[in-house]
């Protein structure tokens, strides 16, 4: 059985779901950040697969994947910086405790 588009999409959906569950349920801000990275990469997988199987001539999907990686890197940098700043202030990275901006 040749590996086709469907396999990549299932993989992508599985990665996205794992990432989503993690992002919604984990308490550690660093882990949440990592889960978001998984979700972004799930999108990358889908993009590249579509590019390869649907429009092999145009490289739009591949180019977008590179963009997403760039943005993800920047996001990780900013996110980690924020987490460090919060940790310095409150000695915790538990998002359940970081709920000052309410009501």
């Amino acid at each position: 059985m040749a590996i086709g588009l469907d396999h990549f999409l299932v993989l992508s959906a599985a990665m996205f779901s794992i990432g989503l569950v993690g992002a919604l349920s984990k308490r550690n801000a660093v882990v949440i950040l990592m889960c978001i990275e998984i979700m972004l990469n799930a999108v990358n997988v889908a993009m590249v697969a579509f590019s390869r199987y649907v429009t092999p001539v145009a490289l739009t999907g591949q180019v977008f994947a590179i963009f997403i990686m760039t943005v993800a890197a920047a996001e990780a940098a900013v996110g980690l910086a924020l987490i460090i700043a919060v940790y310095r202030q409150r000695q915790t990275v538990d998002v359940q405790q970081i709920d000052l901006m309410k009501w």
Partner: protein
């Protein structure tokens, strides 16, 4: 220049001087006075030109001598209403222009002496300019909306000038009273205008044009009960402005203003505006005979009612204020019985001799430092010019031939016996004439006869309280002279002399029917010698009685007062009308209504407003708990939202929602 152009020039001259005095020369009082006098002098010359042209050549009717400019266009559902600004000149307007500008000019000159040194000198002249402009606008206006506009402007000027010495509580109160009481009448006027707007072809180019309204074809179209009510509404405005019963109460209090203001606004011009308005709309009133009867009886009753109060007043200005109310009643009565010429002729004569009386009393006040006639006395020697001129005015007012008042008053009395007249009205007029002669010569004998008593000697006389309650204008310059009476400076006496000459001469204008012929086509002057004889006899009787009581003192005034005790008490308290208005209407009705309205306001209006606010607070108090501050909760909601949208998209339901998300 066409007549209409001259009209615009007359209107704008004092308006320009108002702008100049307010914005440019305010810091230089003397200059303000000169600018105002120059502008009004020019307006007076232009008015004379207009009058000469109206008299000399047949210039046609008001309908032909008008110039209008569209002012506002009010779009309607089916047709739009255009309001215009325009002037119209006819003989009636031409005579009024000369009266207004002429009296105004003399008063402004006189004020140079009377108001000298007053800290509000510039303000005084600014207001006087504005008043003159407004009054001229009222006279010239060719449509009712513009009349109303200037009608309110003269009311505003009256308010500002009555309250000119606003630091005096009595003056501030009188200004408010004048403004509010006249507003009651103006409400009727406004309703009448609105009725006319809706019933007289509003889309037509004529709109509320006075000449158009007065045409027979227009009047036939709207004849009926509605027209009678419209006429009464207009008359209600006139009742307020011309201080007719029952809205006369403001005019005597208006005497708190400077005396030249009283002479110009509250004797010669503004209070005559009501009479002028009725005369302007005369064909409309003639088309509503029931309204005419009301006009005649309100006028006749006011004439005698006000005259009776004038009998007992001690303040010279108040005597004259009641006299003005009474004479305006005469004019209204004349118009009510169809005597357009008689009424306007009396207005014309009255403007001069009553302005003269007021300026004369101003001179007396200036010379003695008091307004109470009991504190004067002997002024005939101290103030000869004032004495002679006031005597002429008093004789004219009393209706002694050959002075002007005699001619017009007799014409009014003769008209009350004419076609639309009524013997009762004649009797009212004759009785008022007797009282007029009595109270005028009471003042003459008390103030000018005997010897000077001075303010100090009359202190004991202040028992009735109504004069002392209205503290008179005793500023430094006036009270300083109170030691001995003296004649006023020439700038004040010359206007007196000019007005005295007019008070003698103007009566002859209608001896051969010249004046009347200009106002009314086919007018023929007719003398009723019986009426003349009776009115002169009555006037002489009044003067004789005044002499008997106050001149020769054959009968003591005190015993006379005791003999008519209850009546005297009623009169000194002005029939308790002020008490009635103040106590019952203001305190009772108005404050009662206010209490109810206040309760409604607090309970319902505030309740609704506060209720809405509380509801919003309650809802938001619950809803804001959703903002937990936990990012994961937010993310969960976003995820749920995405699921919902995707679900709808897949189901294709509903269309409006799936329409947002483009289908592949």
């Amino acid at each position: 220049m066409s007549l209409a152009d001259l009209g615009w020039a007359i209107l704008f001259l004092p308006l320009i001087s108002f702008v100049i005095t307010v914005f440019l020369t305010r810091s230089r009082p003397k200059l303000c006075g000169y600018v105002t006098i120059a502008a009004i002098g020019l307006a007076f010359l232009a008015s004379l030109v207009v009058l000469v042209r109206v008299v000399a050549e047949p210039v046609g009717t008001a309908a032909e001598n008008q110039a209008s400019y569209n002012w506002v266009n009010i779009p309607g559902l089916t047709e739009s209403l255009t309001l215009s600004l325009g002037v119209a000149i006819d003989p009636l307007a031409a005579f009024m222009l000369v009266v207004v500008t002429g009296v105004s000019l003399l008063v402004q000159i006189y004020s140079q002496g009377y108001m000298a040194g007053d800290p509000g000198y510039s303000r005084y002249y600014a207001f006087m300019s504005l008043f003159t402009a407004s009054m001229l606008g009222l006279v010239l206006a060719n449509n009712l909306i513009m009349v109303y506009f200037f009608w309110e402007l003269v009311g505003l000027c009256s308010y500002l000038l009555i309250g000119f010495w606003f630091q005096k509580p009595a003056a501030a109160a009188a200004a408010k009273k004048a403004f509010i009481v006249t507003r009651l009448g103006d409400l009727g006027f406004l309703v009448a205008i609105l009725w006319l707007v809706f019933n007289v072809d509003p889309a037509g180019p004529n709109g509320l044009n006075i000449a158009f309204l007065n045409e027979k074809t227009t009047l036939d179209l709207i004849a009926g009960a509605g027209l009678t009510w419209a006429a009464l509404g207009i008359f209600a405005g006139a009742v307020g402005k011309s201080a007719q019963f029952p809205l006369h109460v403001w005019l005597p209090d208006a005497m708190e203003g400077p005396t030249p203001v009283s002479a110009l606004i509250h004797a010669a011009t503004m209070v005559a505006a009501g009479v002028y308005l009725v005369a302007r709309m005369f064909p409309l009133f003639e088309a509503a005979p029931d309204a005419m009867v009301v006009v005649a009886f309100v006028g006749g009753f006011t004439a005698i009612f006000a005259a009776s109060m004038g009998l007992v007043m001690h303040d010279v200005k108040r005597v004259m204020a009641y006299s003005t109310v009474s004479q305006l009643g005469y004019m209204m009565m004349a118009l009510g019985v169809g005597g357009l010429v008689a009424g306007i002729f009396h207005l014309f004569n009255h403007a001069f001799f009553k302005a003269l009386l007021f300026l004369g009393s101003g001179s007396m006040i200036h010379g003695t430092g008091t307004q109470d006639m009991r504190e004067m006395g002997g002024l005939r020697r101290a103030m000869p010019v004032t004495f002679i001129t006031v005597l002429i005015a008093s004789l004219s007012l009393s209706g002694i031939p050959p002075f002007s008042g005699f001619w017009s008053k007799d014409e009014i009395l003769a008209d009350t016996l004419g076609g639309h007249g009524n013997v009762l009205l004649f009797a009212l007029g004759l009785a008022a004439a007797f009282m007029t002669a009595f109270y005028m010569f009471r003042m003459m004998f008390v103030a000018f006869g005997g010897s000077f008593r001075g303010p100090a000697t009359a202190q004991g006389g202040h028992t009735s309280g109504h004069t002392s309650g209205h503290a008179i204008h005793l500023d430094q310059s006036h009270s300083a002279h109170a030691v001995g009476a003296h004649e006023s400076p020439r700038v004040m006496t010359v206007p007196l002399i000019v007005l005295a000459i007019l008070a003698v001469l103007t009566g002859f204008l209608n001896v051969n029917g010249w004046f009347g012929g200009l106002l009314e086509e086919g007018y023929v002057v007719h003398f009723n010698y019986g009426v003349m004889a009776s009115s002169v006899v009555v006037a002489l009787a009044g003067i004789f009685l005044a002499y008997a009581v106050y001149g020769a003192k054959w009968i003591s005034a005190e015993s006379l007062g005791r003999a008519f005790g209850p009546a005297h008490k009623w009169l000194t308290n002005k029939y308790y009308l002020d008490h009635l208005y103040e106590g019952v209407i203001t305190r009772g009705a108005v404050i009662g209504i206010c209490a109810v309205l206040s309760w409604f306001d607090h309970t319902f209006v505030d309740g609704i407003v506060n209720g809405v606010a509380r509801l919003v607070m309650a809802i938001s108090g619950g809803v804001r708990k959703a903002e937990t501050g936990r990012v994961q909760a937010y993310a969960l909601v976003i995820f749920a939202g995405v699921l919902v949208i995707m679900g709808l998209w897949m189901l294709g339901l509903p269309n409006s929602v799936s329409g947002w998300v483009a289908k592949p």
